[in-house]
C-alpha cells in the first residue's frame, strides 16, 4: 500500500545544509498498522509530512497504492497532534463533512456519512457542538472521524494523543484500535511513546536522529486486543527500548 524507498530530505538553514532524513525505507501493507518511533529530531514527523505530500523529498520516492506521491491527495487522511486542527467555526459534524463538501457531495448525503463517522468514534451525540465545547480527547476523535470521512485508503497520524492525559490516552488507543479493526485502513502512526507503539502497531519502524535514519523494523506479533500488563507485552516493550537505547550509545 505504501512504499517509502531511499527517501532523503535536505534543507537549507542559515548555518548550512541539514540532512533531516537520510535514505529512509519502509513499507506498509494494505490494512497494516505501522508505527514510526524515535526520539525528537529523528525525522519521523518529517517523513510523515512527506507521505502526506506537504513537501517533496530531495531524493528517493514515496508510493501510495502504486502511485508516486506528488502533493496532497484524497487517498490519504491526516490527523495532527494539535487540537487546534479542527475548524472552530464549524460544528463537529461540519468539520467531519468538510472533505465530502470539497468533493461536491450534496448536503444531506455528506451529513449522513459524517454522522456515521462520528458514531464510529462514539461522538454522534456531539454532532452539533463547536470544537471549543469539546474536551481534547473528543476533539482528537472528531479529527479522526474527519480524516476518515472521505474514505481515504491511508490514515496518517502525527502523535495524535501526545497532548492528552494518560487515562484519556489509553482510552483513545483502545478506540483507535477498534476503529482500525472496523475500517481496515492502512495506518502510519508517529509516536515517541514505546508502550503506545507496542499496543497499536503490527510493525514498528525504529528511527535514529541526526540524521534521521531507519535503524530497525520490528514485528509486534502479539494477539489483539492486547493487554499492556501481560508478560509478552512488557517483553516486546523491553526489546523495543533496547533498540532505541542501543542506538543512543552509538551516536
Amino acid at each position: 500500500m505504501i512504499q517509502v524507498s531511499e527517501v532523503s530530505l535536505e534543507y537549507d538553514t542559515p548555518h548550512g545544509k541539514v540532512l533531516a532524513v537520510d535514505k529512509a525505507s519502509f513499507s506498509a501493507a494494505e490494512s497494516e498498522f505501522v508505527c514510526l518511533v524515535g526520539p525528537s529530531g529523528c525525522g519521523k514527523t518529517t517523513l510523515l509530512n512527506m507521505i502526506a505530500g506537504f513537501f517533496a523529498p530531495t531524493a528517493g520516492e514515496i508510493r501510495v497504492a502504486g502511485r508516486a506521491v506528488s502533493g496532497q491527495g484524497l487517498d490519504r487522511g491526516i490527523v495532527f497532534q494539535d487540537f487546534a486542527q479542527l475548524f472552530p467555526w464549524r460544528t463537529a459534524l461540519g468539520n467531519v463533512a468538510f472533505g465530502l463538501e470539497m468533493k461536491g457531495m450534496a448536503k444531506a448525503e455528506r451529513e449522513k456519512i459524517a454522522l456515521e463517522q462520528l458514531r464510529l468514534v462514539k461522538l454522534e451525540k456531539f454532532a452539533g457542538a463547536h470544537p471549543h465545547h469539546l474536551s481534547g480527547g473528543m476533539q482528537q476523535r472528531v479529527a479522526i472521524a474527519r480524516a476518515l470521512a472521505y474514505n481515504p485508503g491511508v490514515l496518517l497520524m502525527d502523535e495524535p494523543f501526545a497532548a492528552l492525559d494518560a487515562l484519556t490516552r489509553e482510552e483513545m488507543q483502545r478506540l483507535l484500535a477498534e476503529v482500525w479493526r472496523a475500517t481496515r485502513k492502512t495506518i502510519v502512526y508517529v509516536t515517541h511513546n514505546v508502550a503506545e507503539a507496542v499496543y497499536l502497531a503490527d510493525r514498528v519502524v525504529v528511527m535514529t536522529p541526526h540524521p534521521g535514519r531507519v535503524r530497525a523494523i520490528l514485528k509486534v506479533g502479539l494477539p489483539r486486543p492486547r493487554d499492556p500488563l501481560s508478560v509478552e507485552f512488557l517483553e516486546q516493550q523491553k526489546s523495543l527500548i533496547a533498540h532505541l537505547t542501543r542506538q543512543e550509545e552509538e551516536t
Binding site: 506537504f54 484524497l74 472552530p88 472533505g99
Partner: protein
C-alpha cells in the same frame, strides 16, 4: 445598570453647572430645555431626517471602505507584489486625518454627499485594510494543511477557511472602521454638507447661538454610535467568533 448610573451622575453634574449661574443660560442651557428641544425635533421628524441623512452617508462610506479594505487586505496577505505595492501607500496615507481631505474633496466634487462620503470612506478604509491583512496572515497554518489534505483549493480554501479563520480580525476591523467613520461623518458634514445631517445641524446652530440644539444633536450622535457599537457589532460578534470560541468573553 451601572452604565445608567454613570450617565445619571454625569447629567447631574452638568445640571448643577447649568443652574449655578456662572455661565449665560443661552450658552449652557438646563437639561429640561435640551430635552424639550430634543423631544420637539424628534416628534416633528426633523431630527430623524438629519439622522437618516447622516446614517446614509456613514453607511455608504463604510460599505465602500469595507469592500476596498477586504479586497486590498486579502490581496496583500496573499501576494507579495500586492503587499509591496500597497503597504507603503497605506503607511503614507493612513496618518493623514480624513478631515484634512474635506477641503480637497469639496474642491473636486462640490458640497454635498459625494465629498462627505469620501471623507468617511477615507477614515474607515485603513482599519479594514490593516485588520484584514493581519487576519489573513494570522490564519492557523494547521487549518490550511488540514483543508488542503481534504482537497480544498483556490476558492473553497479562501471562502471556507481563510475568511472564517480571519473573521475575529475582520469583525474588529469593521468595529474600528465604524467608529472612525462615525467620528468622521460629523466633522465632514460640518464642512461639506449643504443641508441636513447631524453634523450640519450643530454647525448651523452655532450661527444662531442655539446651544440646546447643538447639545440635543450631540446626544443623538452619541446614542446612535452607542447603539451600533453595542447592539449591532456586539451581536455580530456573539453570533460568530464568540460562539465559535475564537475569542473569549471576559467572565465577571
Amino acid at each position: 445598570m451601572k452604565s445608567v448610573l454613570s450617565v445619571g451622575i454625569f447629567l447631574a453634574l452638568y445640571e448643577a453647572v447649568a443652574r449655578s449661574g456662572w455661565f449665560a443660560p443661552a450658552l449652557v442651557p438646563q437639561l429640561s430645555i435640551v430635552f424639550s428641544t430634543l423631544w420637539t425635533s424628534l416628534s416633528d421628524g426633523t431630527m430623524g431626517r438629519h439622522a437618516l441623512n447622516t446614517l446614509f452617508r456613514v453607511f455608504s462610506g463604510l460599505a465602500l471602505a469595507a469592500a476596498t479594505g477586504l479586497v486590498l487586505g486579502f490581496l496583500m496577505a496573499r501576494y507579495r507584489a500586492a503587499e509591496r505595492f500597497f503597504l507603503p501607500l497605506v503607511s503614507a496615507l493612513m496618518p493623514i486625518p480624513s478631515l484634512a481631505w474635506a477641503p480637497v474633496f469639496i474642491l473636486w466634487f462640490g458640497l454635498g454627499n459625494t465629498a462627505t462620503i469620501l471623507v468617511v470612506f477615507y477614515a474607515a478604509t485603513f482599519p479594514m485594510v490593516i485588520n484584514t491583512w493581519t487576519g489573513a496572515r494570522a490564519v492557523n497554518p494547521l487549518w490550511l494543511r488540514a483543508a488542503g489534505a481534504m482537497g480544498a483549493n483556490g476558492g473553497a480554501m479562501f471562502w471556507k477557511v481563510v475568511v472564517p479563520g480571519a473573521s475575529p480580525f475582520i469583525i474588529t476591523g469593521l468595529r474600528l472602521a465604524f467608529q472612525r467613520a462615525w467620528i468622521a461623518v460629523v466633522g465632514a458634514e460640518m464642512l461639506a454638507a449643504s443641508a441636513f445631517g447631524l453634523g450640519w445641524v450643530i454647525f448651523d446652530a452655532k450661527e444662531f447661538l442655539n446651544a440646546d440644539v447643538m447639545l440635543a444633536s450631540l446626544a443623538v450622535i452619541g446614542a446612535i454610535g452607542f447603539v451600533f457599537e453595542r447592539l449591532v457589532f456586539g451581536s455580530l460578534e456573539r453570533a460568530t467568533v464568540l460562539r465559535w470560541g475564537m475569542v473569549r468573553s471576559v467572565k465577571a
